[in-house]
Point group: C2
Chain length 327, copies 2
């Protein structure tokens, strides 16, 4: 039940198709150059129906920033998707995941050694495209990628850590999810010729959207969703401390907190009803929903301050759509 009008959905789909085609051509060119099996593995994970959220954001932010030549920002958009996919390949190894975007993960398909190198190759492709831009854009990209690594360390350190605070959580999310969204929008505005100050507002838009997006993902992990391409409760089983869990652990006490801690420490399928009941009692899902709205509002405010043109209402509707996914 999309809140987007048909015309808008079509516009997004056609942008996404363009991104898919460009990614496919990039891989074809690499294959032409003789890159061989690494391209096959990269293709396996890259061309498997990703949402292309990061490149779409880059393209839309560029338009909202007044950019008139989408081909100028396209390599940047592709760079963000390639780097994102690189981190997915490496993440899946660290999470020992079996599936990604409905397909077997690269390390299960080809072994750890080739999966590490496939991730590296994807990183290189991303940086090769991103490196075409001037120093300001490159340093935004590099900073964003460093932040991803730093926040992945934080995340690893907080696996199964029931004392993780909301601040720890936000540090992780700001680096890992919101960081690339923020960097993509900021860099797109610079490529469109906007001032550093304006680009900061585009950055804020991306960052707030990214935090909201992660919170929605947290909620979907608990509630399940047919279009997620992954089963419900993956985060819970992996010991990833999502915000609803952190909130519930913080609020509850006594026997209830003890029970919640026990459930989370050795979670089984049969524990779902009890876990959901505990989360409802502390209003933790509702709390996360309120935060989603808050961050989406902030994102919208930042965008309306500096954005213009037909991309803006489309992006605002996308914000609404993100919020709707959790209801």
């Amino acid at each position: 039940m999309s809140t987007l009008a048909t015309e808008q959905v079509e516009r997004l789909l056609s942008l996404r198709e363009m991104v898919d085609e460009c990614l496919a051509s990039h891989l074809a060119a690499a294959r032409e150059q003789g890159d061989g099996e690494v391209v096959d593995l990269a293709e396996h994970v890259l061309l498997s129906g990703g949402k292309r959220l990061r490149p779409l954001l880059v393209l839309l932010a560029y338009q909202a920033a007044g950019g008139k030549h989408p081909e100028d920002v396209l390599p940047l958009a592709l760079a963000f998707e390639l780097i994102h996919t690189a981190t997915l390949v490496h993440d899946d190894m660290n999470d020992e995941a079996d599936q990604r975007r409905g397909r077997t993960t690269v390390h299960l398909l080809a072994g750890s050694a080739k999966a590490i190198i496939t991730g590296d190759w994807l990183f290189v492709q991303g940086f090769g495209l991103g490196g075409r831009y001037d120093e300001g854009v490159v340093s935004i990209m590099a900073r964003s990628c460093s932040d991803i690594a730093v926040s992945e360390f934080l995340q690893l350190d907080h696996i199964d850590d029931l004392t993780t605070s909301p601040e720890d959580y936000l540090d992780i999310v700001r680096g890992k999810t919101a960081g690339p969204f923020a960097a993509g929008c900021q860099a797109a505005a610079l490529v469109a010729g906007r001032s550093a100050e304006d680009a900061e507002h585009f950055r804020t838009f991306g960052e707030e959207l990214g935090v909201a997006f992660q919170l929605v993902d947290d909620l979907l992990d608990l509630r399940g969703s047919p279009d997620m391409g992954k089963p419900r409760g993956v985060d819970v089983v992996e010991g990833k401390m999502t915000l609803p869990l952190i909130h519930a652990l913080t609020l509850s006490h006594g026997a209830e907190r003890e029970r919640l801690a026990t459930l989370l420490s050795s979670f089984k399928e049969a524990d779902w009803p009890e876990l959901m009941d505990l989360l409802h009692r502390s209003s933790s899902l509702e709390y996360a929903e309120v935060l989603v709205d808050l961050h989406l509002e902030r994102a919208g405010a930042a965008l309306q301050r500096v954005g213009a043109g037909p991309a803006v209402p489309l992006m605002l509707d996308m914000l609404r759509e993100v919020g709707e996914r959790t209801r």
Copy 2:
């Protein structure tokens, strides 16, 4: 027993010290920004007395190409070392190596997950610095890094493969060792303002030196060397097909080849005398030595064609020194 004059040794040492200091400042700046443990792990492997061959080559090639402002090429030199170190961290995982540059490898120290991310972080640092240059330089770097990945796939496919041909070997070496040497020298010449055609000769210099360097490494793996920082026979034990082994397997036949194949398939410390005897009978070490000289000569010829200034004799002496290491 260095063939370099004291003055030249001092010049190289002072260049290396400068590289070390710049790498240390780069890490300090990242630590300042709050990058935390990933910087500690990066430092553990980066500041542990590497030879800094790649950045030194970049600096010297720049000077030989007539560049007058070493600070212009310094980020490029550091980029090549950071990317090289990233590949070492990931390689060591794939090789299950315990030691690197005399220290515990990152994955043994901090686990696989953090080692993968530390490698990624080092890649990002390298590309962040390299991305400051214009598109020509960036695409040379990106191509070189893609080639590393492609040749690592080839290498994995040829582990324990006794039918590996000299051509397979050269494909692997050209991508993995010679490629970054070639790319560094070519890019340095471009940064110094030389034409694309001249830069190609610098590329040839780097590529030929790189092949020679790998052959020397192959020989040292068989003969051992006190200054290698790794024990003799690592390649043999790991099933890496080095050129002397490939040559011996190609030349020998009948019972002798069978014995050699058996030795290599399940190599033990006690097999050394017999292995060396078989290699001597096929003159395989001598063959590799001749190839070293051939590639060094070609490197020298390319350099003398386009290089000038005091860096040139220093680089030629370095070539001689590389050759001497195998004797």
